[in-house]
Symmetry: C3
Subunit: 462 residues, 3 copies
């Protein structure tokens, strides 16, 4: 960009300011330690030299990473920590081959396959601390507190593994001293690790490049935030933000330092990360995506994050909304921002009052009258209709309005809500009027999944 | 591109030819005025210096624009014009702060927030003249003449604002001397401005960069031309054109001069703009997208643009088809082009005769027999079915055939038409055979929208 | 890429190894002939000089191609071959214009419009040989052996031409010495050419650039592999592979030599071509996409490719799976690969046993009981439901699991399968319980297509 000099100046100023504010806000002045030592132990050289041959791609990825620039070697992340349960036995065997280069015992260091946020926190403590309290990190707990598919065992374990757990994460287990293949490999954002930490930083910063650029691109979020029930990537791509991103992304300065990525200077229109995670102006970078959010647009009844029962946010929605407004104000005027929130709040209000509550009341009535059966969810057509009203089109309507995507707000959103609502109410009234019990699917397919809540999460909580 | 030298030569030749033809065709030789003066008034310097600090992004955007290169300052667009109703009062207050840099009264110039096509026309008269007669500019009028959602008040004002009006535009209003926040901000293509002009050039040339490159990229059109009812961007991306664009776009010369963007030289496969707007060969650039079109594929019954009642084109479809053929012929042979139009015409004919007309006849019969109720549209299932037949899958079928996207022509198009037609006819016949009135949804949700046709448009017309 | 030197070294090594292996495996040592002669006949100069003026885009495309670098001229591909039926008469006429540059008879060479794989095989024999036995090349035969739309004449010829045949290809015909416009132009992958060869290399390597880069990009495959029934491009874009492609594609070395495109070195994450076609490690490049495949995930009942009755693969699935595993192992560890196949095989098994077989049994029962009519397919609602169960959501479930796209495996896949299965079984049981014949759509629209199997394919076979 032509304005790069200004950009850097402002960027540095922002970073300094951000640092200063962070210290003030969190009240822990600290003497920084940051020096790059260029030597490395012979065991690390052994890793590198052997993997340069054996897995040239991983080596090439690493050479391009900031880790390599800072002399962070394989061992800095993979060396087993005290108590690690997933130390690789296969890997150890290589060191009994004295006839091979680096095959001697003296090069051996025990290695853990799964690198966890706890491992990453040795160098990135703030990111991990923020992430740990996010909905991302705790998504398995949230899912089990809410989801009828899991709690009712309505889908199979393999449907969960190739579907749900791919994004939400697995609970890692060790069987016979090896990572249990029903739980590993997995890089879901809420993975429960053997060391008790939550998540996988490589969900967004794929190994072994660990790029900030990648995590700043919307497609990265779009791995999981897509489809009929939370189409944030489709919504983003449709919005003015997404349009400008598509037209100008090749000019974006993707590698600006963390906390110093500046709207208008480093990029024209924001990506997901810009608004939800990146530092901008006086708002600091966060890895807790629950921040800056003022409505739970994914919940059946839209509530404030602090009132979201399965995982109440530990902050006040007004504080978070003010943060987000500061982000908006980096590019937009005050009138624009206020008007946006009027529209969004109105969309939420209309969804809650006009669509959700009357439908919910009707559903409850049907259960109360015994015309719908509570034993299983999804085995009666009206349960599916009700679910799709809030979980599919109801989310699309709210999220479309939230991110200014007219096609999603209307055609995939409220337009579908109207028709779903009408069909739901017609059938429901028919049952009431004729006092008929709803038809139950007698052979619901593949409802074989385990219904045990993961003790690794729920026993700890008790 | 390696062939850049040839490209430039041909480009210049094309531009000269285009100019010559334009003069001949439009019969108004004119002495050109075009000189760039480098000075600027101190008020303009004040704008720039203050906004460089306050809104660094806007400043950065402007520095990258052709406007900045041509010494077009903030004032050249934002200075209030005689009679402007939206002069910013907030902005004026800054000039009572003599203690601030540029805060003195002498830097004050009244500013209008909303820059309109009329403002743009001071430098870009031809573009604005063309645009003013397009369906884009007049879309609010068209919408109110056609749309049952608006005319029946079947959705809420907020559903319209976050949905319809986002693309189609609002009718700007001033309340208490300020732009009414229910109408502003908005950058819809048909925005009715306070000065009577129609549209917002920043819909496609986003501020403050105003890039021709952006408007040439298909994603820009895809902001509005997407989704179940007019998925032009999905259709384009699927087509051979879109495939080649995706593979080679990084080689495209996006910044070729307006009118000189040459297929084969500056780019391999066309984008939306290439065929519908850009000058190509002897066909001149137009900002009236109604040009080059020979069927109204969005209408219920497909008609010629001159026969489209809500907004009849002021041209003959054969003339426009010949223009489009000349565009095709820039890359394709004559046989190819003729064959394409045979397929497209056949698709239109079959849609009209086999799907639309029999379904329309059945709908009319149901109304005539009193089995469907005419009071409201959308509150009986068959009305929704009929609507989606022409408005959703019927458009996809026609548009898919039109832009050579087989998946849309068939799977999202005629395939869906067949099933929709069958279900519609089954249910309709059932009503007729049993002489039963259709069920009416008694509590159609959120049907609260204003049904007043905008007097700014419709009173003017009378 | 920083590691380019290593990359080239490894690339060359790979290529040499690949060559060596190929010779060993196929047992035909050959003396290579490869020399580039720089002269060209005056007829070729005439083509180039005239088309440089007349079709500047085609000329520009060619100048950028490897063909031009290797001195391959228009004539090398377009010169009519003995027996060609599609020699252009229009073109010949230009050579009677001695007053035009190159208009003299001595520049005349007979030209065939349609360049076929047989033509391409003069220089690319291995690619054409591989392609000829692929499902791509033989897709028209497969389609006619399977498809109820074609065999029942349930759609119109134009619906087929703008839909099916666009991807699958036409059977080229000559009428009055010209290519029949109902069959040409077409670049479908299974086009039956007048010389008996199958396909069109320009489906993926668009003319006149013929780029290996283009064919390596996923969007190229996505021209046809998209939509409700085989959404491989959507699935890919959602996967971790697609995410990394989107974030890093600008760093990819797209122009690495055929057979030498090396994962980790030339690119981070694979594209469609990387896994299904490109040479990688010891696995050789193939243009037969049936290779490396171990399940027919597009078939109603998932079977091994060798057991796919309409076109049984001439190889063993275990051999092919081992090939694919070797591809995976270029980037992934053994445990990762084995675990992937456990999930995929389980998804296939559950689809077959839990969803497809019970639904198929019910369909057969309905036919046996006379409650469904076998005369036509698609004219009874349950036939459509059954079709979509396997052809739409059942494919999405299997393909989503196959390419690790959780949203497709679950929300667009098994989630939809469950609801479809339930609705199908409810309606089917209702017919059985009430002994009612299913309603038949009496006026199935546009069921006018020709039902004659192409004799060019089926007579040859007998």
């Amino acid at each position: 960009m032509r304005t790069r000099t200004i950009g850097i100046a402002i960027g540095i100023a922002t970073a300094l300011l951000a640092t200063a504010t962070a210290f003030a806000a969190q009240n822990f002045p600290k003497a920084r330690e940051f020096r790059i030592e260029r030597g490395m132990p012979e065991q690390a050289i052994a890793c590198i030299e052997c993997h340069k041959q054996q897995t040239a791609g991983i080596f090439a990825d690493w050479t391009m990473s900031r880790h390599a620039s800072a002399n962070i070697t394989c061992l800095d992340c993979h060396q087993a920590q005290p108590g690690d349960l997933d130390i690789s036995r296969d890997h150890e065997q290589y060191y009994s081959r004295g006839d091979m280069p680096y095959g001697e015992k003296r090069y051996f260091i025990p290695i853990a396959s799964a690198v966890t946020p706890k491992d990453c926190s040795r160098c990135h403590p703030d990111e991990v601390k923020q992430y740990a309290k996010s909905k991302h990190a705790n998504t398995i707990e949230i899912m089990w507190k809410l989801d009828p598919w899991l709690n009712g065992g309505m889908n199979s374990d393999n449907e969960r593994k190739t579907g749900c757990y791919y994004c939400h994460g697995t609970v890692l287990k060790v069987t016979d001293g090896k990572l249990d293949s029903s739980t590993w490999p997995n890089v879901g954002v809420g993975r429960v690790n053997l060391d008790g930490s939550l998540g996988s930083c490589t969900s967004c910063h794929t190994r072994h490049r660990f790029s900030v650029m990648e995590a700043r691109k919307p497609e990265t979020c779009g791995q999981c935030h897509l489809g009929p029930d939370h189409p944030q990537i489709e919504i983003y791509n449709e919005s003015k933000h997404g349009d400008i991103y598509q037209a100008f992304k090749q000019e974006y300065n993707w590698n600006s330092a963390p906390g110093a990525w500046t709207p208008g200077i480093d990029y024209r229109a924001p990506t997901c990360a810009s608004c939800h995670m990146s530092g901008s102006g006086s708002v600091l970078t966060t890895h807790d995506v629950t921040e800056r959010i003022s409505w739970e647009t994914q919940a059946p009844l839209t509530v404030r994050p602090q009132d979201f029962k399965p995982f109440p946010a530990q902050t006040d929605w007004k504080v978070e909304r003010d943060k987000m407004k500061k982000i908006c104000l980096q590019c937009h005027g005050k009138a624009w921002v206020e008007d946006f929130y009027v529209d969004f709040d109105t969309a939420v209000h209309e969804y809650n009052e006009v669509y959700f509550k009357p439908a919910k009341k009707m559903l409850d009535d049907l259960y109360a009258k015994g015309l719908l059966d509570k034993t299983k969810f999804f085995d009666e057509a009206l349960e599916v209709e009700f679910y799709e009203l809030w979980h599919h089109e109801g989310r699309r309507a709210r999220m479309g309005a939230m991110m200014m995507a007219p096609d999603y707000a209307w055609w995939h959103g409220f337009y579908e809500c109207k028709h779903r609502f009408n069909r739901f109410m017609e059938e429901a009234r028919h049952l009431v009027d004729t006092n008929t019990k709803a038809y139950r699917y007698p052979d619901f397919p593949n409802a074989t999944g385990d219904t045990t809540r993961p003790p690794e999460i729920f026993n700890k909580k008790q």
